[in-house]
């Protein structure tokens, strides 16, 4: 053993100017800027003794949810769970917030792609972007759109530090509305689901969002809209790349090997990121089936819920034919799977937060 180096100071204030300052300043700026308010509150706090799920209509579904949670926190009940086993996993698009006729993240990526095409000749020439120019996304329900979207998504998300990636999403979310109803995306979370999150948080559950959307897009609003911090958002990722200059490192999104967070990937990602099997899982499409199966696969009770979009009056009515994320084969299999259905039109007396 040799050379016990000691740096002169026990910590270092990083200079704002320097060799790597250009990119570092950009990368850090988003992280230290005061956050822009996207939503007025995270999850509503029910008064003690009050109905914790006022937007849910009375019935066996609502009673079952409340009793499941109550039993799991009652040390005298055989279904009691220690705090570290109180894990709940929620899909995002169509489960916690609206996704019709096109998920917010998809709309964001397409807006960014249009900007890239407009400003960068290389991108304008890339054949991956041809469908954008050819109007493939003018009808958001074009059945071919998801297939044509994949290469655009991969290229468009690449080349940003994670901090800038989140900042770009936050900027877009300030004004972005769902064209179908004119509602801001950050106001498009479902009130009954925010109540359910609040009920779980009040009972020491640890909640996770497990989303097919870009992970850093959902991280841009999950803390404010759901009360869920960035490290409890699991999503489609970008095979981040690493680079460093003079001891200062950057992590940057790349266009390689994007892992689409859907289907079995949701279950294995929960194992990788959470390290516990959830006891509650909530989704709304075929891509959520395995996440719910995983929650149902342990010993002891589980709560597995699928939201069915049945409410054309207050939201949208769709399932099998929704091209971005259909509820089709899993809908057929529901009785065999044993999941519980949330019928939006019947089970919720309010939809919007």
């Amino acid at each position: 053993m040799t050379d016990l180096h000691r740096s002169p100071a026990p910590f270092s204030r990083r200079r704002l100017l320097g060799r790597a300052a250009g990119i570092a300043a950009l990368a850090g700026a988003a992280a230290i800027a005061p956050p822009v308010a996207l939503a007025r509150q995270a999850t509503p706090e029910p008064a003690a003794g009050a109905d914790p799920l006022p937007s849910w209509n009375a019935g066996p579904l609502k009673r079952g949810i409340i009793e499941f949670v109550a039993r799991s926190v009652d040390p005298a009940h055989e279904d009691w769970l220690p705090v570290d086993r109180r894990i709940a996993a929620f899909d995002n698009d169509g489960t916690l917030m609206a996704e019709y006729p096109m998920p917010a993240s998809t709309s964001f990526v397409l807006d960014r792609a249009r900007e890239l095409v407009r400003t960068m000749p290389d991108y304008a020439r890339d054949p991956a972007f041809a469908p954008l120019r050819d109007g493939a996304f003018d009808d958001p329900l074009n059945p071919e759109a998801p297939r044509l979207y994949l290469p655009i998504r991969k290229i468009t998300n690449a080349g940003l530090t994670q901090q800038l990636s989140i900042a770009a999403a936050r900027g877009w979310l300030q004004d972005a509305v769902n064209p179908a109803d004119g509602r801001r995306w950050v106001d498009s979370a479902y009130r009954p689901m925010l109540e359910l999150l609040a009920l779980l948080h009040a009972n020491d559950y640890t909640t996770f969002v497990v989303t097919g959307s870009e992970v850093d897009f959902v991280r841009a609003f999950a803390p404010e809209v759901y009360g869920i911090p960035t490290w409890r958002v699991i999503g489609t990722d970008y095979a981040y790349g690493y680079s460093a200059v003079d001891g200062r490192g950057q992590v940057t999104t790349t266009s390689q090997d994007m892992l689409n967070m859907t289907g079995p990937n949701k279950a294995t990602a929960i194992a990788l990121h959470v390290g516990q099997r959830p006891v509650i899982a909530v989704g709304n499409s075929d891509g959520d089936q395995q996440m719910l199966e995983y929650a149902a696969g342990g010993i002891g009770p589980s709560l597995t819920l699928m939201l069915h979009h049945t409410d054309a009056a207050r939201e949208f009515a769709y399932d099998r034919d929704y091209p971005w994320s259909p509820f089709d084969r899993t809908l057929d299999a529901m009785p065999k799977l044993g999941f519980s259905m949330i019928d939006m039109a019947k089970d919720w007396n309010a939809v919007w937060a």
Copy 2:
């Protein structure tokens, strides 16, 4: 839209017996069994006004750590950080707990490999296990050992549900001791580091373990020994596989594509799992350099610490020649990198928890 299926009950108690009950019972048992106590306490709580780091000797290093934390939680100070930016990342082996002469996880995997070879003829015939029979690991400091270990590691970790994988580690950790000093591994955490974790937790920092060891091995003891839940442990993983029978899912470790959580992988994994750049990073080997660089790469102050094992009397003295995880090139680069060194012999007045 058609076929509004509703399952009869809003949630389902899973039967203990059934078609998939054999494997499910095994998989679930570990998760619901009352946890076996591995350690008496997580992190010690200092009394208000007391020295938060009593095992650290007075000096600029200790003062610098305490002042860094104090400034970051002082709303009147320019270095104040909102709670969601108070992120600290710790390596495990050699940083939070002893790793010499062989990390606990390596010793665990080799013990399991010996058991597999003894009981399963297929494994005994596998050439990957030949070095085990040939005594390659009898000297834990054999420079060839890490290379010969890799294929053993991959095969040995495969084929368990995550719950059983964690349970196997917990069982082993009950009695397992470091042969070099006879100390139980779960008692081999460093008291000064537990004090640092406690200081950070008391100041609303969110801590993460980012480890080259198998993620589920460290998850087996991190909650009790460090006060860090399983979802804040990032480590070497197994490319989990998914399977389901009758709506009940299992996630199982495989022998494919193990991602070794070291070097740049630590920085990119923090981006993937945490979604925030850490402001504090603590390590002890070349494999931690990029994690510390990433913490140092933002705007604003950062605290980047490397522990140097200089204490042959109370622990072990090693760095460049330690085959499992050398502190060598990064040791040479320390002055240029700007990281702070913790000299165990000089900076700590107590080592063990």
